[in-house]
Every structure is written in structure tokens, then in C-alpha cells.
Subunit: 328 residues, 4 copies
Amino acid sequence: MLLELYRTFGINLDLALEAQEIVRGETGREIPGVIVNRESRPHASVTTVSIVDQAAEKTMGKPPGNYITIEAPVIRENNRPAQQQVAAILAEKLASLLHLSGEAAVLLIGLGNWHATPDALGPRVIDYSMVTRHLFQYAPQELKEGMRPVSALAPGVLGITGIETAEIIKGVIEKTRPDLVIAIDSLAARNVGRIATTIQIADTGISPGSGTGNQRTGINQESMGVPVIAIGVPTVVHAAVIAQDTIDRFREQLKTLSHLKHQDYDNLSPEFIRPAIEEVLQPFAGNLMVTPKEIDTLIMHTARIIAGGISMALHPSIKLEDYNNYLN
Amino acid sequence: MLLELYRTFGINLDLALEAQEIVRGETGREIPGVIVNRESRPHASVTTVSIVDQAAEKTMGKPPGNYITIEAPVIRENNRPAQQQVAAILAEKLASLLHLSGEAAVLLIGLGNWHATPDALGPRVIDYSMVTRHLFQYAPQELKEGMRPVSALAPGVLGITGIETAEIIKGVIEKTRPDLVIAIDSLAARNVGRIATTIQIADTGISPGSGTGNQRTGINQESMGVPVIAIGVPTVVHAAVIAQDTIDRFREQLKTLSHLKHQDYDNLSPEFIRPAIEEVLQPFAGNLMVTPKEIDTLIMHTARIIAGGISMALHPSIKLEDYNNYLN
Amino acid sequence: MLLELYRTFGINLDLALEAQEIVRGETGREIPGVIVNRESRPHASVTTVSIVDQAAEKTMGKPPGNYITIEAPVIRENNRPAQQQVAAILAEKLASLLHLSGEAAVLLIGLGNWHATPDALGPRVIDYSMVTRHLFQYAPQELKEGMRPVSALAPGVLGITGIETAEIIKGVIEKTRPDLVIAIDSLAARNVGRIATTIQIADTGISPGSGTGNQRTGINQESMGVPVIAIGVPTVVHAAVIAQDTIDRFREQLKTLSHLKHQDYDNLSPEFIRPAIEEVLQPFAGNLMVTPKEIDTLIMHTARIIAGGISMALHPSIKLEDYNNYLN
Amino acid sequence: MLLELYRTFGINLDLALEAQEIVRGETGREIPGVIVNRESRPHASVTTVSIVDQAAEKTMGKPPGNYITIEAPVIRENNRPAQQQVAAILAEKLASLLHLSGEAAVLLIGLGNWHATPDALGPRVIDYSMVTRHLFQYAPQELKEGMRPVSALAPGVLGITGIETAEIIKGVIEKTRPDLVIAIDSLAARNVGRIATTIQIADTGISPGSGTGNQRTGINQESMGVPVIAIGVPTVVHAAVIAQDTIDRFREQLKTLSHLKHQDYDNLSPEFIRPAIEEVLQPFAGNLMVTPKEIDTLIMHTARIIAGGISMALHPSIKLEDYNNYLN
């Protein structure tokens, strides 16, 4: 199976929607324990994949919970009004996962490495975020209305700090006692078309080994002691996935040749295919990423949309038309 | 007294050496409880100011401990060999304050705001620092010889995170249990000649209200539970200090006029002088900083020297001529 | 006279409005050959200083032409709607100086050093600007309506390139033949209150020695062969100006002392005052700048306003409410 | 043929060495008009490919001239002494192509987009370069000994400036009259192993369409009027090349299956293969790049080596052990 093949390259599919599509494509029927809901919006389609039992957890390779995916190719265009609408959808969907009192405190965590462009989405969102926790003790009552205390941290990655990211976050949570953590991360997709066009919101937090930064310890309710919502956007596709997919499409193409019999090349084991891919990707293997040339710009736009959506969800007093005013 | 006058503008003198010079200048004699030692080195002079009792603490406005000041105008020139020698002096003096076993763990903290140039020294040092803690559990024995586990964090400032810097650091210390913290910060000097030429190492950590970032809670053994060494370099002079000093020099100048009597203008109270300064600095008051135009470059050079000096002090196996190789 | 005193420190007043205020303050009457017009707008006051003859040129130390100053303290607040209104005023005033056919080509020049924060305004505006020249030969007619070909360059400074900025610009003008150059630069003000609150638009271009970057050759119609409009915003005050002003205010203060006679200290020559200032500013002299701590953020906001105002002026089809959408 | 197939995706092979290897691999014999020389050095192997006639120009898809390739995997390790040796080899080889009098002036051009990480090599080299042209008219004789006037420019890319890069460079050349141009650019390789390990020096300048930035006009002696040496380092591989190579290796793998006959799948036309690749790369096609995650760091290291090598070649008075001192 494809999901397993990817794993032999150390690759997890970060998007539950892609995992669901692959499993469903291979089995040809609904996946037991997985509920899928679709909505259509202007500029975006929204799919919620809910994993409801342990069997589904195993099939999908993802912990039980809700994974909301916003697919909005318009993000990649430099069309601000449409991007604002996507931010508003993000705000609405994020709000649907929050079960917070009006004054509950939220800690934003920007995961990833600011010195590695495709991994810099999380820290960039923190740059653009509206932080209010420190103002709260002094602010007059009318300013507090419709606001809540929000703090934000970009903890860096293991190679920069020498410290597991989860340890830093846990330490800060214990000192500041937020009621909820929202963690923003760069993701790897299977399909290049998803780069900077798809946003996933998951109420499961972040599992060990997911995300482009590959944190080893999960950042979720179990490890952190408070609920963790993860927001991610694909910024890369692993080169190994591109290579694997190319071989698959090529095999489809071969099927159109009348003089070849399907069984000749169709039942090839992963062990047969893998060396071809490994040879091409030498000496980097799992560390080679495919990105569009304009990834720096795409990350800037995407970070702004996410920061705006979060601010709208957390501070209901901010109106859609004003959200630009609350960005840095 | 001048120290008190500065305080009316919310300004603390970060350099113990400057505080000592002012107090000594005003009283005209040695300060009880303050011991001063001077050494001369190629490219640098080194002064150690030790504050040994509470009376001296009060006079100087600084907690008891040792403040080592390296004055090296050569830092401001783009002369790498000389800068390496300054890094070596820093390493030697820093080592003299460390009382660590060979394997004791150290946490580097880069204080300040990376988005405000004169306040970015601390985060820049972290960028250039050699982090080893995460390698330690896997490294072969021969690599560990002469090395120790070092981690590093640039926690940001209150306005960016919404969290008191001291809270973040305390949380990380409790999770990672270092034996020592070294905190690097931008300082404010009294004299523009000290900008990017003077390095202060203090075994007292950082007191509330010092540094350009003005953290409210101290970062010291008392608040952190482990020894804290502070390394700072002046990157600015408060505009209010410049204004005050200008008036003082002007008054000296006036004394040369034979038709004026000293008492006419010499016994002016701070309350008389302050409005002149406040008016000039409107509407910024204490937030106006004086820096040389080339401050961005100066901070880059200084950060490299400090990161190099720290690496040499913490990892004795690194030789002077190689320290460039250990910088990022 | 104050203007001359500043010049002994190598300092020119970049704002015609400040020069006019000083000259008028010293003489106590209107300046012959200088016409001043004031308008009041929401969030801004607009003053046009026109220098109409050579005598006025000499008095003011500025070439004949129109200097429009927009004073808008609101720029320094993070209030986007108000900032958009300032951008609209800038657009309107800039348009009043343009005498361009609908298809005339414009070259934007961002002067200054991107590695020196207070000097980085020009390059930042280029970052945020809407460039269209390369699209023009392919664009369909309906897209071209209300647009014109705009190109943009941040040529760097002499210390980075080894080339006089004016030479680079002249070379590019000769190759690309724009009908107009708009040059954006950081300015030095006399008054700290003007930092990031005042915008000057001048149809004289840039004279030798003005701006914080101190280009030696002017960038104006004479040297470039096409009309040059200069847009500048103060980002610093020279420390020498602060020092000088402090002495002046202090002397005013001294006048309140009944036992001192005015003549005692009032007729002091610049030669008498200067040493006091020089001593305080050692070893930097003219290169010491006073800036607010938050200058990085202020420059980002200001650059966005200027880029937005220029885009609105050059492409009349862009509406006020959409200008955010045209920024990078 | 492979070179032609790549071109159908708009991809040129930037490295003459790779083009030579492919052509030679396909024909199985020496290429007429192409002379290849190999040398072995500590940490590096050096290959010179000389294209000496028009037939070879056509086969290779590259203009006649000398292409020196330094292959040094050590660049990718953080080993400074070895990197210095590579810089010294670069200096030596570059010097062998220079036919300059001691005082001839050189203009360095850093091609590419500083806002797109894998395309930022050129501008980064300019950042690290030693610029002397502006010092020259004032420098004392002893400082000039062994130095020459060097200027430097990073002109940006068409999407940022709206101006063809070649136009900007031509304009600056006409104003400043250098005797030689050295243009630094990011390249695309065929093989990921070459990313940040291979340096190409070519005395042909840059042809239209080469480099990752795809300038349309060449930057060479013909267009610029002065000799142009190009220095390039691969920072990416086109995703289409990875996909194509994967299919080729997969077909090799298929050959090991005894039940398949070679002719069954070996004589597949490019038209047959291309749709599989295009489908995988939708919607980006030629704009998808493969890079290692650590590309930001790799570009920083590579830029330092190139800037150091250029400085040593241009200023023979700089010794190997000092070259770190001449970097910014």
C-alpha cells in the first residue's frame, strides 16, 4: 500500500484528506470508522474527515479526531479580498473547534525553522499575530470586550536550540497556564497542487513525526496537558513522493501499450521500485523537498491569512473588513 | 547626583564600570565596598569591579558580585585577527567565572528583540552559537572530549510574545535542568565611545530594569534557581543621557567665561535642568536611542566575537585559530 | 545662525518646512521669495513651501521648487484606516506635481542602505511597490486602462557597491528612458517628533549632500535629464542637533534666573558651543543618529503608506479601499 | 535525446560537465570539438570542458569557451579549513581565466532574487564581497599595492524591477567602464548530488535562458561589450528532471525482469513519457524545484566561499589564511 511505501522513506502524509483519498482509492469503498463531510464555499471547498475509532486510526495512520481541510487555490493568487474570505472561513471553522469561555487564554506556537524557507510558516504566523496577554492586566474594560489574552512563541527547532521543541512548549505552558494551544506548522503534501492552497485544522494536535520539522515528541493534549489545535499548510512535497508518483503514472501509461500485459509490470513490489527512487535522490533521500520557486512569497501570503483567521476566531470583536488592520 | 538624575528618566547605567566612574568622580575618593582591578592586554584593557557589600550595592545601584569589563576599541574596526584576540580574552575571563565540571550543561539565552536592530545582539549571538545538547546522547566518546552539552534560546520580548521573558526562561530551565545560564543582552552606555567596543561579563545575572529591553523580572540565581552569568555590550546611549551630558559640558565651558560667577549656574537642581531635556525629546522621552549609522554591521561583528568567546570558554578543545570554523 | 551651525557638523536640514521655520523664527518675519500655504485635512496638515528665487534659495539652503509636507502623527500609531487616508493625501499631492500623459513611464528609486535600519526606507518602499513595466508589452488592453509602466530599483549605497548611486541611476535611465523618476529616501529631521510622522514631497529631486545616505551627486533633473520627484520621511535626528537644541533650551531656561543677565550667556558664538557638543559625540561626530527604539516597525509602516500612495497616484484605477491589495 | 527532452520542459542544463556527460553517455564516444581535462586536488576534482567549434556548440547547447567545474562535496559539510581550500582552488582557476593588468577594474554582478532562497546565491555573494572602487581615489599607495578597483551590484530580477537585468547591467557598465564583469548566479543541475557541491566558472558569460532566474538576454561579451566570466553553483534540480530520471532508472530496473523484453518499453518516445511527468507536476510544471531542506544554510556557506575565492583572485595580496578577515 502507498501509505506504507511512503513510510519506508520516513514520510508520513500530513493531510488526513490525502490519507483518506489514498486508502479509499486502494480499497474502493468507504473506510470504516472514518466520516467525511463536504461543504462548498465561494473560493473554497471544506472537507471534514473525522476518525472515530481505533481501527480507523490504524488504517489512516492518524489519531482519532476531526481534521478540517480548506482547499482554496485562490490563496496562491495575489487576490486580497478572496484571501480575506478564506481567512474568514478559517476563523469560522477554527471557532467551531474551540470550546472556550470568553476570557480563556490561548497560546500560539509557531513550529519550524525560520532559517529554512519552506519550514518558516509557523514563525511567520507568530510575526503577524496579535498578542494581547501582556496588555490584559492594564487594559480598560471596554478594550477587553470581545478580546481574550493571547500569547505567542516560535520556539525554534532542535538543531538551533539543542532542546526538543515539546520541552520548551511544555515549560512555557506550565509557567503561563493557557487554556488552549494553537500550533501552526508547515506540512508536506502528496500533491504539489496543494502547496500554499490547502489549510488543515486538526483538534488532535501534532503527532510525533508529522510536519516538515519532524518533532519527535507529539504536541497534543496528552503531552501538553491542555487541548492543542494544529493548523498546517503544505509548503513542500517530498521528492521521494514525486518520484513514486511519477513511476505510478508511468505504469498507468504503460498499460495503454497493447503489446504489454498488465501482469508484467503491475505486481511489482515496493522493494523492486525503491532502489530506482533512492538512486535518483542520493545523497539526500528523505531530506529533498519539492517547492515552487515563489515559495518565499507564498509563505508570506499564507502566514497572513492564518494570522488573520486566528485573530478573528479568538477575538470576535474584529470584523472581516478590519482584519488587515490587526496584522503587523 | 548623576545616577539619580538618570533614574528620573527611567535610565539605569548598565555598565558597573561607568557607575563606578561617576560615583568616584563625584565623591573624589575610593568607594567603600567596591574593589577595582585593572589589567592591560594587547588590543584591550580589562577592569574588574567587585561590589562586596550592601552599602556599595546601594551607592552603585547594582547587586553585589563581579563585573568584568573588556574595553577594546578594535572591535569596531573590521580587523578579524584582533577581534579573535578579544574573543580569546572574553573566553578566558568567562572561564574564570565558571565553576563547572567538564560535563555540566549550559543554557545560552539571547535576550532582546530581533526586529529592533540595537536590541538584536542577544538573538544574533544565539544564531552564531554552537549548540551541542541534542548531539550529546548520540555522539561518540572522542567527540565529547572537551565538549559539554550546550543549548540556546532567544525567547523574544514581552511585546512579541505577551509573556515575561523570565517566565519563558524559567519554564525551559525547569524542563532541561542546565547547571548554568549565560544570558546575552544589549546594553545602554553613558558614553557613545563604548558602543560596540566594551563587553561586560557579570556573575550577578541581570537585574530587573537593566538592559535595553527592560525586562521587569530579574534573570539571576535568585529567580532562576541556577547561577546566571550576564554578557552585555552597549549598542546605544539614551538620548536623555546625551542631552544631560551636553548640558554638563556646556556648563564647564561657561566656567571659562570670566564675567560669569560659578555659583550663578553651577548649583542648578535637576528639576531646573530636566524640562529642557524633556522638551527636546518629546514625544519619545526614555525611548529615544543614540546609535551610530553602522549599528547593524557593528552588532553582527560583536555577536560573532561573543559567540566565539563563549564557545572557546565552554569547549576547551576549540583552539583560538579554529574558532571561525565553529561559527555558523 | 542655526542653519549654518548645523552645517559645521556636516548636517543639512532635509525638510524645507523646518528650514523655513528656523529662518522665520530667527528673522521674525516672512522670508522674501518663499511662499507658504497651509491646508488642514483629517489626520494630517499639509504645508507647501515654494522657493521662488535665488535669494530664497540661498537663505533656505535649498534649490527653488515646491516642497509639500504632510504632517500626520497618526502614521506612528498602528491605525490602518487612518494610514490609508494619509496614503490617499500623499497620492493626491503627488498627482498634483505630476504632469504626465496617461502612458508615461515612471522609474521608482529606493535610495539608502538596506543593511542600516534607519536608512532602509527607500529599499523597503521598492519591496512594497507595484511594478508593471515588464507586464506592459503583453498585457491585454483592459488591464492597461488606468495603469502605466512602472519600474523600480534600489541601487544600494556607495559603501556596498563602490559606485556613486547617481551613476547607477543615470545608467539605468539611459537604457530604459522613463519620463519621470520618483526617488524615495530616509531624511534627517531637526525635531524627533517628526520621525515617522512627516512626509515631504519635492519636485526639485535630491540635492547633493541631503538625505541620511549623503549621496554626493544630486539626483535631479539637471543630473538625470528627466524630472525627479523626491519623497522623504525623517527616520532620525542627528545627535548633534539634539545636543545643540538641548543647549538652546537650557539657555532659555537660564533666562528665567533673575540673577543672571541675558547678555552673559546669550551672545555665545558657535565656536564657543561646538566643543561641548563634539566632546559628547566622540568618536562618531556626524554619524551618530537618534532614533526611537521601534524604528524597524515604524519604517515598515511608513514604507507601506508611501508605496500605497505612489501606486494610487500613478495608477488612477486603484481605489482607496483596494490599495492594501496592491501591496506585496 | 535527453538534452532535447529537458528542453521540452523549458529546462537547460547549466553545467557544461553534465551536458558533456549526457551526450557522451548517449553516443558512447568522445564529442568532436569538445576537449575535457581532469585534475585531482585535495577535497576537490577539477574538470575543464572546452567547446572549441560550432558543431560542438550545437551538440552541447552551449557557446564556445572554457567551462571549469570544481566538484567538492566538502562544501556541504561545515568544515571551514576545507572550504577555504576550495576557495583557494576557485581563486586559482578564476585567475587562470583573467587576463588583466594589475589595475584593471572589475564589476561583480550578483544575479537572482534575494526574496527566493534558492535563487539568492548571487545577491548573497555581493553581500560578502570586498568592494574597493570607491576607496581607490583616496587610498594611499601602500594600500593599493596588490589591490584593484572592484565594484558590485545585485540588480534584482525582472519581476521585482520591471527591467531586464541585462539592461541594468549594461547601463552601469556604460557609466563605470569596468574592464571585466564577473557574474554570479544560482544554477540548476541534473543531479541532486551537485547541489551546493559544484562550482562552474565559464569565460563565456551567461547565455539567454540559463540559470534559475532565466534572464532572457545574455550577459556576455557580445551584449555587454566587455569580457564576462560567469560563476555558478547548482542550488536546485528541476522537479521535471527528477521525474524523468526516476522513470529512466525504473526502466533500467524493468530490464532485470526476465519475462519482459527490452524492446517492449525501451523505445518509448518522449511524447509517450511526458504526460506522466506533467500530470505529477501540475499546476507548476517548469517552476517546481527540488532542494534540500537546509538550502538556506548551504547558500550562506557557498556564497562565502565564492566571495572569498573572488577576493583572492582579484587582490593577490590577500593570503589564504586571511581570507576570512576580508569577508563581511
